[in-house]
């Protein structure tokens, strides 16, 4: 067992596979000697060299497109986008190329690529460096999407993402990078498997990424009022662990879906609708959906904090159900 930061978990996952397989490579803006904008690849340049830990020009289309071409011809590339907001610049390569090639070509091509991208607000980075754009990716057939919350999950999901023959979008909570947690296993964590991070019988909080920690704070507060919340960390957004959600709701009969995305059109809506459609009979109350405001991410700390959902929103939603 060891203690690692979230960033170290991601790095260790990439490094394990790069040590084993020369065809696993990392490229992106400033990922080389600079170590990545958030330091995630620090030291990897020294271990693996400039060919396999490769700086790219500021060209998001070419970064993602390069991953597509490399994946189609024998590599297992990991592409880093400096911020998920920059996905807009390379969106065609992800949506029209990476996601669709296998299908368009009749299943005859593999696309083993990972695109890493930091997401989320809370660092005062304002509207173009703070978004949570996971719904854009979950909306596209052909992409898998993961969003770990701890170092161990980041490590294990990275191993599985690299091993996968499909494009995997690897969201990283940028406020989580420095957060330390225990890593007791360095085994792959299968995509599509969530986990219960806190058991409780009264209400299910379904979440992922940094909001897992907001949910934990909310659960502590609710416990003082005698409400025992169960927290599901989805870890994978697609494939989605519907069985785990079903099992939890069958016990609690109440569901809160908590994400940091702009609420309108977010993936939280898809999860909520799935619960309503498929597990309606288990519910004692309408599904509560909590997200950010329907605004761009504002700059000033007081505005940004107001924009983001927090534990008090969860507490209020839970109390409304009783």
């Amino acid at each position: 067992m060891s203690i690692m930061t979230y960033a170290e978990g991601i790095r260790e996952g990439m490094s394990i596979r790069m040590r084993e397989n020369p065809n696993v490579v990392l490229f992106g803006e400033d990922v080389g000697a600079f170590g990545g904008c958030f330091g995630v690849s620090a030291g990897m340049f020294d271990e693996f060299g400039p060919e396999r830990v490769r700086d790219t020009p500021i060209s998001e289309g070419a970064i993602i497109g390069c991953a597509v071409g490399a994946a189609a011809t024998g590599l297992r590339p990991i592409a880093e986008l400096m911020f998920c907001d920059f996905l807009t610049v390379g969106m065609d390569q992800l949506v029209n190329q990476a996601a669709k090639m296998r299908y368009m070509f009749g299943g005859k091509i593999n696309m083993p690529m990972v695109v890493r991208m930091p997401a989320g607000a809370g660092s005062g980075a304002a509207a173009q460096h703070s978004q949570s754009l996971e719904a854009w990716c979950t909306h596209i057939p052909g992409l898998k999407v993961v969003y770990p919350s701890t170092a161990e999950d980041a490590l294990g999901l990275m191993l599985s993402a690299i091993d996968d023959d499909n494009p995997v979008i690897f969201f990283e909570g940028k406020l989580l990078y420095g957060m330390k947690s225990e890593v007791s296993s360095k085994e792959p964590i299968p995509l599509g498997k969530g986990k219960i991070v806190r058991e409780g019988g009264d209400v299910s909080i379904i979440t992922y990424g940094r909001q897992v920690f907001d949910a934990a704070k909310a659960a502590d507060l609710l416990a003082k009022d005698g409400i025992e919340a169960e927290i599901i960390d989805l870890r994978s957004l697609y494939p989605l662990d519907k069985a785990l959600i079903e099992q939890s709701i069958a016990k609690t009969h109440k569901a809160i879906v908590l994400t940091e995305e702009v609420k309108r059109g977010g993936y939280g809506g898809e999860i909520s609708a799935t619960i309503a459609e498929e597990f309606f009979d288990s519910l004692d109350a309408p599904v509560a959906r909590i997200g950010a405001l329907n605004t761009p991410v504002p700059f000033a700390p007081v505005l940004e904090q107001y924009y983001m959902p927090n534990e008090m929103d969860v507490v209020a939603a839970a109390k409304n159900m009783f």
């Binding site: 020369p22 065809n23 490579v25 490229f27 060919e51 396999r52 790219t56 020009p57 060209s59 289309g61 070419a62 993602i64 497109g65 390069c66 991953a67 597509v68 071409g69 490399a70 994946a71 189609a72 011809t73 024998g74 590599l75 590339p77 065609d92 390569q93 029209n96 190329q97 090639m101 296998r102 299908y103 368009m104 070509f105 009749g106 299943g107 005859k108 091509i109 593999n110 057939p141 052909g142 898998k144 996968d164 023959d165 499909n166 494939p239």
Partner: protein, 328 residues
């Protein structure tokens, strides 16, 4: 430069196969048997066969929405192509791609592509893969003049140049981006001028002369294989049809069309072969007849193939997940 008679005969054969395949595809489209869009390469047949004559089976190409010529020249199977155009289960893409998305990984064909400018970036990935796997393969990226105004063109040429990737960028300048003439859509005449911005060799050749194309491609391929980096080749040619079948192309001046029809690469190369004693008129006739039979066989094959089951729509989105079928 010396080019063997055998190679010239091969190039002519491929040009003829492309011309006849597309003539048939156009007819089938007009008859309502081919769904969707069909973009013809007609008039540009001197290019892909001459470029691909410099390639090996394990080399890669990226293609465009106007991809039939590239795919045939790189060794694509006419039967499977025709079956795909007709949306059959046993077509190249099991009926999921159609004319714009034919790929053949075993032949190094990384796919025709419906997005103008997408292949440029994909070719950088193939190039990087070749470099890191330390083989002497190359990748040819085919594209039109219209796509050279996309950001991806500039991103990819820059990346290929700084990394010295083994890529040959082949611009098929057919002088139109859909309805917009080159004179209107860019402020340069020679697309090859843009090579200077990326510090790579750039050359413009007569794209209706397969020997001129071959010569430029031969040198660029040798350069790429030797690890010396990418080249931009501009082949000046003309799209004889509209952007897509059904486009009346009223934006093309009649005199311009007529002048280019005089330079139609098929009769022109046939005449060259005859004049230079490479093939007799009778031999050319024989090749033409063989090709006509191949196309006839392809149609017969395609029409005999099964229509896909509707439920097969949920397969092949992922390697390991079958999506939910529709429940009614």
């Amino acid at each position: 430069m010396e080019i063997s008679n055998e190679l010239m005969k091969d190039i002519y054969l491929q040009m003829r196969r492309i011309r006849d395949f597309e003539g048939t595809a156009a007819k089938l489209f007009a008859d309502g048997e081919v769904p969707g869009f069909v973009h013809l390469y007609m008039g540009e047949e001197a290019i892909a066969p001459a470029v691909c004559a410099c390639l090996r089976d394990d080399d890669f190409i990226t293609s465009t929405h106007r991809g039939h010529g590239h795919i045939i020249a790189k060794g694509g199977d006419l039967n499977l192509m025709m079956a795909e155009l007709l949306g059959r289960e046993t077509g190249y893409c099991k009926g999921k791609g159609g004319s714009m998305h034919i790929a053949d990984r075993d032949k190094g064909i990384l796919g025709a592509n419906g997005i103008v400018g997408a292949g440029h970036c994909i070719s950088t990935g193939a190039g990087l893969s070749i470099k890191l796997r330390k083989t002497d393969q190359v990748c040819v990226c085919f594209f039109g003049d219209g796509s050279t105004n996309q950001g991806t063109f500039h991103e990819a040429l820059n990346m290929a140049s700084i990394w010295k990737l083994p890529i040959i960028f082949v611009c098929e300048n057919n002088h139109y981006g859909i309805s917009m003439s080159q004179a209107r859509h860019q402020a340069i005449k020679d697309v090859s001028d843009r090579a200077a911005a990326y510090n790579m060799p750039g050359v413009s050749v007569d794209g209706n002369d397969p020997l001129a194309v071959y010569e430029a491609a031969f040198e660029a391929v040798a350069r790429a294989r030797a690890g010396k980096g990418p080249t931009l080749i501009e082949c000046k040619t003309y799209r004889q049809h509209g952007h897509f079948e059904g486009d009346p192309a009223t934006y093309k001046p009649k005199e311009e069309q007529a002048a280019w029809m005089e330079k139609d690469p098929l009769p022109r190369f046939a005449k060259f072969l005859e004049d230079n004693g490479v093939m007799t008129a009778k031999e050319i006739e024989t090749v033409d007849a063989q090709v006509a039979q191949q196309i006839k066989d392809a149609i017969e094959f395609a029409k005999a193939q099964p229509i896909p089951s509707p439920e097969s729509a949920v397969v092949d989105v992922y390697s390991d997940i079958v999506e939910e079928v529709r429940v009614r």
